[in-house]
Symmetry: C2
Subunit: 381 residues, 2 copies
């Protein structure tokens, strides 16, 4: 843990188990569910300074701070969460949970089914984004939090933030929706589908029963991650980062080893991913993402948001081609149709979809200002 840095410091993963069964959108009743979460800052007496921060597809509850004194890598949104940072832990009580179905502490397909003492595998019920926020709501109930100062998330985290506002409109004072969408394009569904297909067609996946095997569906999962990574970057980012540069060589190898840096990068990303993520979790979570479509479910996005009295901040990145800016603008339009208080900012960035995890300067200012209620003068710098 680097010293003399503004940080929430040492943090530890906490757990809460929801003992009663929860009815999922599919109709299945499921439980118990253990929720893994971290918190930063202090809940005030009125319990009205809580901010729920929600992670993206392969994230976890470790959004800020360090897990140990020797830890060098802080949480995934550490640049935004901490004393005097955008999510100012001197003021706010920030909560981040691992998603339902995940593999970083919250109950998911790799968890042990207490009825069988075996991992759930594909007996785990398919769930939706609505189900994931239902679980988060149960945690907030447990923490005695009846009102959220804000709910914030990037990418899939933003989709959950949207659903939180829709499911619990009375509870949310503001929402920060970053690099997100109210529904995936067919192209984005296609990428997820090929990723899942890659896992399912790995013989080691074995119908989802691989937890007791030495051979995991690592190749399938790695491939899925490689596909995902292409969509998180953008052409400009790839030119800036790799161009057509070769990897540790001056000439082509004339074989099927890695020639280009971009190949090496993707293979590396695939390889390190399998050490931290569960293939079945990837299947379930991408399916929930594909299913998310409040416009379809509530008749229109306007109808979906109609009971909300929250203020909204919507941020997109111009080079994000996975969830392009026009999708953020659709959210903004729906909110404007309802005369909701909404601010929108498209940030110029060469970082593609990943920008929500990379472009901190502008994001910090905008979010800080929004949370401080000074949102009129937000500028795209």
């Amino acid at each position: 843990m680097p010293e003399a840095e503004k940080s929430v410091g040492l943090v530890s993963l906490q757990y809460h188990t929801i003992e009663e069964k929860i009815k999922f959108e599919s109709g299945v009743e499921f439980g118990p569910i253990t929720v893994a979460y971290e918190t930063y800052g202090q809940l005030n007496e009125k319990k009205d300074n809580a901010i729920l921060v929600i992670h993206a597809l392969t994230g976890d509850a470790h959004a800020a701070g360090y897990r140990s004194e020797t830890d060098t890598k802080p949480g995934w949104w550490d640049k935004l969460i901490g004393p005097d940072k955008a999510f100012d832990t001197n003021k706010y009580y920030v909560i981040c949970t691992n998603i339902l179905g995940g593999c970083s502490g919250t109950t998911g397909p790799s968890s042990i089914n207490p009825e069988t003492n075996q991992p759930y595998g594909t007996t785990f019920p398919v769930f939706t984004i609505e189900d994931t926020v239902r679980v988060q709501k149960k945690l907030l109930d447990y923490l005695g939090i009846e009102s959220l100062y804000s709910v914030a998330g990037g990418s899939m985290g933003g989709m959950q933030a949207i659903q939180f506002v829709i499911s619990y409109p009375e509870m949310v004072k503001s929402a920060i929706l970053i690099a997100t969408t109210s529904r995936l394009s067919p192209q984005a569904i296609a990428f997820n589908a090929v990723g899942r297909n890659s896992i399912i067609s790995d013989p080691n996946w074995n119908g989802g029963n691989y937890y007791n095997s030495e051979n995991k569906p690592d190749r399938g999962l790695s491939n899925a991650r490689m596909i995902g990574h292409i969509t998180y970057l953008c052409e400009e980012a790839m030119y800036n980062k790799f161009g057509r540069k070769l990897q540790n060589k001056d000439h082509y190898d004339f074989n099927f080893d890695v020639d280009f840096q971009v190949e090496s990068y993707l293979q590396h990303q695939g390889q390190i991913f399998v050490d931290r993520f569960d293939a079945n979790s990837y299947l379930y979570i991408t399916k929930a993402v594909d299913y998310f479509d409040p416009e379809e479910k509530y008749g229109s996005l306007t109808n979906a948001f109609k009971n909300s009295s929250a203020k909204f901040l919507v941020i997109s990145f111009d080079s994000d081609w996975l969830f392009p800016s026009y999708q953020s603008k659709e959210i903004v339009s729906a909110l404007m149709n309802l005369s909701k208080d909404v601010s929108y900012c498209e940030i110029k960035s060469p970082c593609g979809h990943d920008a929500f995890l990379l472009e901190y300067d502008v994001q910090s200012k905008i979010i800080k200002s929004f949370l401080n209620d000074n949102i009129e003068e937000v500028k795209n710098e």
Copy 2:
């Protein structure tokens, strides 16, 4: 074979074997190579009316006409090749070969190595786009063709057309480069790399030795094709074709079967592909495509084209994000720097990269006009 249609009619695949070994760009000497090809129209006495048409990544030599009386599906560019069509077989002698390393008649990794009586598999040498046009040149030599009225191709076919002009500048009177590029972007390399990785990580690939096995790397190849197909379409095409429509159902299935039409389409494309294409050929040909980079090889694109006296027609499609228009414009700029005779047209189309196989009306007019030397008034309609 539908009647009363303007068509080249019945055609048959022909073969020519280049007996002597050819020196590949890698330094390897390889042979014999059998080239599979089709021809349409008649070679005139002067032998100066030949047009070499070159197929794309997974195409074959069957560019026009029908293979039998009962055949209902014509060759892949039948709408452009035939009597009175853009490549008018009343005037021109059109030749199309299956690519070196392919699996539709020309020697490739699935061919039998006469020295071992076993399929080459991965003992087949890695080749380049330059090697593929070297093989085509040998066929033209055999046919007694010393001059090409034109060389034309879309996508990878266009890359070969570029290389043909570079390798044999004295031979080419005109070149038609459609939906192509002088070098892949890192993003396009990334997609190819993931496709190859998908094949190589399929246990049935077995180091490329699967020809005598019952189990082929169909799952890996199918996945690679699915990835490819996403890049051949564009977001607009996917919205038009599929949107978020479900496949034969009104509600989500809450399992990992296909839910969306776009998933079903991609799976179908993957499944039918494995019946007609060889996984090793996919590896070799995508590698040749990744390696193609005349700018790197000749110092600049301008230098690469400097010996050419051909007229050029360059066509791109505005929705093509695999080989975007800016890449065609780079080719045009290089040719303009050399004061070459070059026409460029960006066609508006919602079809993405696939447009070169779908948008025939405008392409026909432009190509016909170009070949008739009336290229001044070409308009983007």
